[in-house]
């Protein structure tokens, strides 16, 4: 094969060119007109599973037993409905969502932030079901995060997802350690909280345990809580919902980041915070290694089991005593693919979760969070003194103060991984200033919203 070496590249190049020519003939992707779902309001449609055998296809988040328990109970009550469930981690679901909704449409799927999925016409407009089931008569705040308008901003417009329950974040604390440092009642102001943190540090206890490693900027939890202490939740929500002209770079938010930086510099967080993941945080907190942890009530049921009687919960204290309180509070979002085979049955299931007594029991006991539904709906009894009781009570306070808001990581699909996380890790390492942090996040946000 004397000519081998000279001929081979030529042949390869020719093959490549030929294949390139065939591949390049059409642009990738679907058509440019929006899917029908977004353009006109659907007719009132009945949410029902009928009586014929149905297999609902679910795509759930792994590590959280709530949806699985609800599915099992549903099959018990409606034996004609079987489930075909696939589970993944939330980060994986976030990355898979568009492709899965388009290519392998599930009837029910745990969703990340929905606005980009709606823009691509991947989610079913649930307004028809909302009308027939009466969801539109529930407190509006429960559903507004899942409404997406024509321009892609959230907060109003047609409903594109539902919650299995709605959860809320704040501060969990270890009651034994609290007594040890003389914290007999929850801090009433931000200054009280600062004092408690200092006392814990002086006593050799890690004041706050928080995850912030890898691709998970957990400092966003305390940061957003601090934002509520210094400012009003409304402009933050506007920013998350992509209202025109909204900015995260406000004077009160700057105070919040500065306060967080103060906590970091004072050594209130573990020094390996930038390599700590969520699981490590949980095991350290449950193991009694830290006084506080910023986290959500989805852990209430778990903490009641793992450190029974020893876990407490409080909302972020306001800057001034008696001030209004706010919290990150979001529905556990589930949507129906616009191509789902059994959409009616999936909608019936979502309605059942919010209205059936057993389902509401499961939502509280297993999910640890407040069920969705009408304000006067049945509430399962909760044992006094448990942390679940404390988080449910805190939820009522938030409702009264109108302080519920979405998570700042949900503003766009990429803002968490590409902006908040690296920026907060730099702040933790002393490589970023509060002012530049907010400016940088805002800049990324603007390019992402444009896209």
């Amino acid at each position: 094969m004397a000519h081998g070496p000279t001929r081979r590249p030529l042949l390869a190049a020719l093959t490549l060119a030929a294949l390139a020519a065939t591949a390049a003939c059409s642009a990738p992707g679907g058509s440019s007109e929006p899917a029908g779902a977004a353009t006109s309001a659907p007719a009132v449609s009945a949410a029902t599973c009928g009586t014929a055998p149905v297999t609902l296809k679910g795509y759930f988040e792994t590590g959280f037993p709530l949806p699985k328990n609800l599915a099992d109970e549903f099959t018990k009550q409606f034996p004609n409905v079987k489930w075909d469930i696939r589970e993944d981690q939330f980060a994986v679901i976030t990355q898979n969502a568009p492709r899965v909704l388009a290519d392998d449409p599930p009837d029910l799927m745990r969703l990340p932030q929905v606005s980009e999925l709606v823009k691509d016409g991947l989610l079913k407009n649930l307004d028809g079901y909302a009308q027939s089931t009466g969801w539109d008569k529930w407190p509006a705040s429960q559903l507004e995060q899942m409404r997406v308008g024509a321009s892609g901003q959230r907060g109003d417009g047609p409903l594109y997802a539902m919650g299995l329950n709605f959860s809320m974040t704040g501060l969990f604390y270890n009651k034994k350690l609290a007594t040890q440092i003389g914290m007999t009642q929850p801090p009433a102001t931000l200054a009280d909280l600062d004092a408690a943190l200092q006392k814990a540090k002086d006593a050799g206890i890690t004041p706050i345990d928080q995850f912030n490693g890898g691709a998970t900027g957990g400092l966003a939890f305390p940061l957003q809580n601090l934002m509520t202490a210094y400012g009003d939740p409304a402009p933050i929500n506007d920013w998350i919902f992509q209202k025109p002209g909204a900015t995260i770079d406000t004077p009160s938010n700057l105070q919040a980041v500065q306060h967080l930086e103060k906590w970091i510099k004072a050594g209130y967080f573990a020094d390996d915070i930038n390599s700590q993941d969520y699981a490590t945080m949980m095991s350290r907190f449950i193991g009694g290694k830290a006084l506080f942890m910023f986290n959500g009530d989805w852990e209430s049921g778990n903490l009641d089991k793992q450190m029974a009687g020893n876990a407490g919960f409080l909302l972020m204290p306001p800057a001034q005593a008696g001030g209004k309180q706010a919290a990150m509070s979001a529905p556990l979002t589930y949507g129906i693919s616009s191509k789902a085979k059994n959409a009616d049955c999936a909608a019936f299931f979502l309605n059942w979760v919010a209205t059936n007594q057993q389902a509401r029991d499961i939502a509280v006991k297993v999910g640890g969070s407040h069920p969705m539904g009408p304000a006067d709906a049945y509430m399962p009894p909760v044992q006094e003194g448990t942390v679940t009781a404390a988080t449910l009570a805190a939820g009522a306070t938030i409702g009264k103060d109108n302080g519920a808001m979405d998570f700042i990581a949900n503003a766009t699909g990429a803002i968490y991984a590409k902006s908040w996380t690296p920026q907060l890790q730099k702040l933790a390492a002393g490589q970023q200033t509060p002012d530049a942090l907010l400016k940088s996040v805002q800049k990324d946000y603007e390019t992402q919203v444009e896209n």
């Binding site: 568009p98 691509d120 915070i273 699909g413 590409k418």
Partner: protein
């Protein structure tokens, strides 16, 4: 006269059929290769000229994506990180591999050599994900690495190695070095075993010591094996994904972000398929640009 003619004719008649048969045997492989290697490769090149989120309509943007590669300092930094990893993924395994292989060869007969070989090759058979998880425990603030440092009185330098801006990338590099040392050692050891013992004998008769032996006989004879080691490990460094994804996911900040991981984030989290494709194409070209000269350099000597 007639015999040669029929002979030639017979040969001519047989040849086309043989060629046809040959292609038939190769066909399954060609089809698979075209479907799963060439087609995705070409589609990636095509996507790189579009602004596309992977689902909706796409817009032709020409070379804009490539332009951003050069101007966006964050994207460019990922490429620099990949080059820094070459030191760990390639430099350390090859140098250490040479040293270890030479040592093992000198004790070849003993049982210790077998044990050493097995131990060194172990990282190759452990799934990278498991290795990454194991190392993130070892390198955590309460992990073995820090405990050992404390034990010898070096408390002052203990830290969360993978969570520190200054040490995260080298720490990832150490994991890579650990994985690749065994592969290089084994390759080099195999190379050494085929060197003619008479050469060593002759050198020894001429009065050469072990260092001279290594420099004048072992090293030149291993030229090709070293070439393979360097090629494989440099590609592993430039195209690294799994070790980084498991141990740091690119953090803290973007201090361990490498092109492979950035492509993944661009495509699946930022949903910029066009940009991700452009970076992927650039990465392929970069790997070729680095690896082809290495191939040439290490091949010439043997020809």
């Amino acid at each position: 006269m007639s015999a040669p003619i029929t002979g030639r004719r017979a040969r001519r008649a047989r040849r086309p059929r043989a060629v046809w048969l040959g292609w038939l045997f190769a066909a399954p492989a060609i089809v698979m290769y075209a479907t799963f290697v060439l087609r995705p490769l070409l589609l990636t090149v095509q996507y790189s000229f579009y602004d596309w989120n992977g689902i909706g309509a796409s817009t032709w943007v020409g070379l804009d994506n490539y332009g951003r590669l050069i101007t966006d300092s964050e994207l460019f930094a990922t490429i620099l990180h990949a080059f820094e990893l070459i030191v760990f993924f390639s430099g350390i395994p090859v140098l250490l591999g040479l040293f270890v292989a030479a040592t093992i060869r000198s004790i070849a007969a003993s049982r210790l050599a077998t044990v050493a070989r097995t131990l060194l090759f172990l990282p190759q058979v452990i799934p990278l994900v498991a290795a990454g998880i194991m190392w993130s425990w070892l390198l955590s603030s309460t992990g073995l690495a820090n405990e050992l440092l404390s034990a010898v009185g070096l408390d002052s330098i203990t830290r969360a190695w993978l969570g520190d801006f200054d040490t995260a990338l080298p720490a990832v590099g150490v994991i890579g070095a650990w994985v690749l040392v065994g592969l290089c050692t084994l390759l080099l050891l195999a190379g050494m075993s085929k060197i003619d013992p008479a050469l060593y004998e002759a050198a020894r008769l001429d009065g050469a010591g072990p260092v001279r032996e290594f420099r004048s006989i072992t090293l030149p004879s291993l030229r090709q094996e070293i070439g393979v080691c360097v090629t494989v490990t440099v590609i592993a460094a430039l195209a690294s994904f799994d070790i980084v994804y498991i141990s740091t996911q690119g953090g803290p900040g973007n201090s361990t972000m490498v092109p492979g991981l950035e492509i993944y984030y661009l495509a699946f989290s930022e949903r910029e398929v066009g940009m991700a494709s452009a970076l992927a194409v650039a990465l392929v070209l970069l790997v070729l640009a680095v690896v082809l000269p290495i191939q040439r350099l290490t091949r010439d000597g043997s020809r």
